[in-house]
C-alpha cells in the first residue's frame, strides 16, 4: 500500500488548528491553576483538616481517580443541567479538568505533606503558630517543592487527557483534527499533526512548569 501524505488541505484548516491549540492551552491553564489550588485544599483537608472533612475528601478523591475522565465529563456536561446547573461546554470541560487534577494533585501533595518531618510541625507549634499558619507558612512550600516534578508530570498527563473534551463539542486540538479529517478525510495527516503538536505542548508545558518551580522555590535544598 502506498499512501501519499498531503498537507495541502492545511491551507484551509490551519485557523481551526490554531484555535484548537489555543483552547487546549486555555483549558490546561485554568485546569492547572485551579486544579492545583483545589489539590492543596484537599491535601490539607485529608492530612490535617477537621475530622469530618477527611472522609469527604477521601470519597471525592477515590471517585475521581477510579473512573474515566470522559465519564466525569459527561456527567458534568449532560448531567448537571438536570440538577438545574447548566455549564457551557468550555466551562464544563474546565470544571472537569479542575476536579480531575484536583483529585490527583491532592494525593501527590498529601505525600509531600506527609514526608514533612514532624519537627517542622512542632517547631511551628512551639512558636505559637496555629495549625493553619503552620501549614501555610512552614509546611506547604517545602512540601510542594518536594513533589513539584510529580505534580508537573500530572499536569502534563491531564493536558494530554483533555483530548476527550472534543466529545462534548469543545473545540480543542483534538476537535480540530477530527473536524479537519471529517471534511477532508485526511485522517493520517490530521492526527499526525495533532500528535506532533501535543508532543510539543507536553515538552513545553513540562519545561515551563519546572521553570516555574525554580521561581517558586528559589532556594534549591542540598541533598538531604
Amino acid at each position: 500500500m502506498t499512501y501519499e501524505f498531503d498537507f495541502a488541505w492545511l491551507a484551509g484548516y490551519w485557523p481551526v488548528f490554531a484555535r484548537g491549540v489555543a483552547m487546549t492551552i486555555r483549558l490546561i491553564l485554568v485546569g492547572g491553576v485551579l486544579g492545583i489550588a483545589l489539590g492543596i485544599f484537599c491535601a490539607w483537608g485529608r492530612a490535617l483538616g477537621p475530622r469530618w472533612l477527611r472522609p469527604l475528601v477521601a470519597l471525592y478523591v477515590e471517585l475521581i481517580r477510579n473512573t474515566p475522565f470522559l465519564i466525569q465529563l459527561f456527567f458534568i456536561f449532560f448531567g448537571l443541567p438536570a440538577a438545574g446547573f447548566r455549564l457551557n461546554e468550555v466551562e464544563a470541560a474546565s470544571l472537569a479538568m479542575v476536579i480531575n487534577l484536583g483529585a490527583y494533585s491532592a494525593e501527590i501533595i498529601r505525600a509531600g505533606i506527609e514526608a514533612t518531618p514532624r519537627g517542622q510541625f512542632e517547631a511551628g507549634a512551639s512558636l505559637a503558630l496555629s495549625p493553619l499558619q503552620t501549614f501555610r507558612h512552614v509546611v506547604l512550600i517545602p512540601a510542594l517543592q518536594k513533589i513539584w516534578p510529580a505534580l508537573a508530570s500530572q499536569v502534563v498527563i491531564v493536558m494530554l487527557g483533555s483530548a476527550v473534551v472534543s466529545q462534548i463539542a469543545v473545540e480543542d486540538l483534538t476537535f480540530a483534527a477530527n473536524f479537519a479529517q471529517s471534511r477532508t478525510f485526511r485522517a493520517f495527516e490530521a492526527y499526525f499533526l495533532s500528535t506532533a503538536i501535543y508532543l510539543a505542548l507536553a515538552i513545553l508545558l513540562r519545561f515551563l512548569l519546572l521553570r516555574l518551580g525554580d521561581l517558586l522555590f528559589p532556594h534549591k535544598r542540598g541533598a538531604r
Binding site: 518531618p117 519537627g119 517542622q120 512542632e122 517547631a123 507549634a125 512551639s126 512558636l127 505559637a128 503558630l129 496555629s130 495549625p131 499558619q133 507558612h137 512552614v138 512550600i141 517545602p142 517543592q145 522555590f217 532556594h219 535544598r221 542540598g222
Partner: protein, 242 residues
C-alpha cells in the same frame, strides 16, 4: 512564686506510662538541667510543658496560668515558653533572618520592619549577625542551632526549653552553642534543659534533676548531685557518662 509549676504530671502512650507523676517547680531565672538515661521521659516532660503532648493527669502551670488543651490556651502558653529541639527544625525554605521573623509577623502581627530589626538583634546576640540571608543548609549545625535559639528568643519568651540541643552536633560545634546558652543563663533567662553535657550542667545550672523510669529520681544543686549521688541509679548513670 515559681514560673513553671508541674504537679503530679502523668503521660502515657497507649498502655505505656512514660511519666508517672512528676512534681517540679522552676523559679524565674533558674537554670534547670534534666538528665537521665535514654527513654526515661526527659523529652516527654519538656514536650508536655510546651503543650506538644496532651497530658493524662496532673497539671502544668506557667506564670500562674494553668495549661488547658484548647488552641487559644496553647498558643498563649507557647508565647510564654519557647522550645529548642535537638534537630534544630529550622524552616528550610526560609533564610536565617526569615526564620526568626516569621512567627513575629504571623503570630504577633509585628510589622515587617520591626520584625526584621528584632531578627537582626537576635542573630547578633547569638553571634550570627552576618548570616541573616543564609539558608539553613548553608549553615553548619552549630550555626543552625544558634539560629533556632534566636528564633525562639525573638518571641520574647519567659522561659526556654532545650531538648538535647547539642546532641546532633559535631563535637567541635558543641562549644559555640553552649556559649550562647551560657550567655542567656547569665542574663537571667529561665531555662529548663535536657542535656548530656555534664560539665556544662555542673558549671551553669542552678539545679539538676535526674529522671529515672518516668519519675524525678533525684534532684538538687549540681555540686551535691554530681559529688554525692545518693541513689545507685544516679551513681551508675554518672559512672557511665563521665
Amino acid at each position: 512564686m515559681s514560673l513553671i509549676a508541674i504537679e503530679g504530671l502523668r503521660k502515657s502512650y497507649g498502655e505505656h506510662e512514660v511519666l508517672k507523676g512528676i512534681d517540679l517547680e522552676v523559679a524565674k531565672g533558674e537554670v534547670v538541667a534534666v538528665i537521665g538515661k535514654s527513654g526515661s521521659g526527659k523529652s516527654t516532660l519538656l514536650r508536655c510543658v510546651n503543650g506538644l503532648e496532651a497530658i493524662n493527669g496532673g497539671s502544668i502551670t506557667v506564670d500562674g496560668a494553668r495549661l488547658a488543651g484548647d488552641e487559644a490556651h496553647l498558643r498563649a502558653l507557647r508565647l510564654k515558653v519557647g522550645m529548642i529541639f535537638q534537630q534544630f527544625n529550622l524552616f528550610p525554605h526560609k533564610t536565617a533572618g526569615q526564620n526568626v521573623m516569621l512567627a513575629q509577623q504571623v503570630v504577633k502581627k509585628t510589622g515587617k520592619a520591626a520584625a526584621e530589626a528584632m531578627a537582626r538583634r537576635m542573630l547578633d546576640r547569638v553571634g550570627l549577625g552576618e548570616k541573616f540571608g543564609a539558608y539553613p543548609d548553608q549553615l553548619s549545625g552549630g550555626q543552625q542551632q544558634r539560629v533556632a535559639i534566636a528564633r525562639a528568643l525573638a518571641m520574647e519568651p519567659m522561659a526556654l526549653l532545650c531538648d538535647e540541643i547539642t546532641s546532633a552536633l559535631d563535637p567541635e560545634l558543641v562549644g559555640e552553642v553552649l556559649q550562647v546558652v551560657r550567655g542567656l543563663a547569665a542574663e537571667g533567662m529561665t531555662l529548663m534543659m535536657v542535656t548530656h553535657e555534664m560539665a556544662f550542667a555542673r558549671d551553669v545550672c542552678s539545679r539538676v534533676v535526674f529522671m529515672h523510669q518516668g519519675r524525678v529520681h533525684e534532684a538538687g544543686p549540681p555540686g551535691e548531685v554530681f559529688a554525692n549521688p545518693r541513689t545507685p541509679e544516679l551513681q551508675s548513670f554518672l559512672g557511665r557518662v563521665a
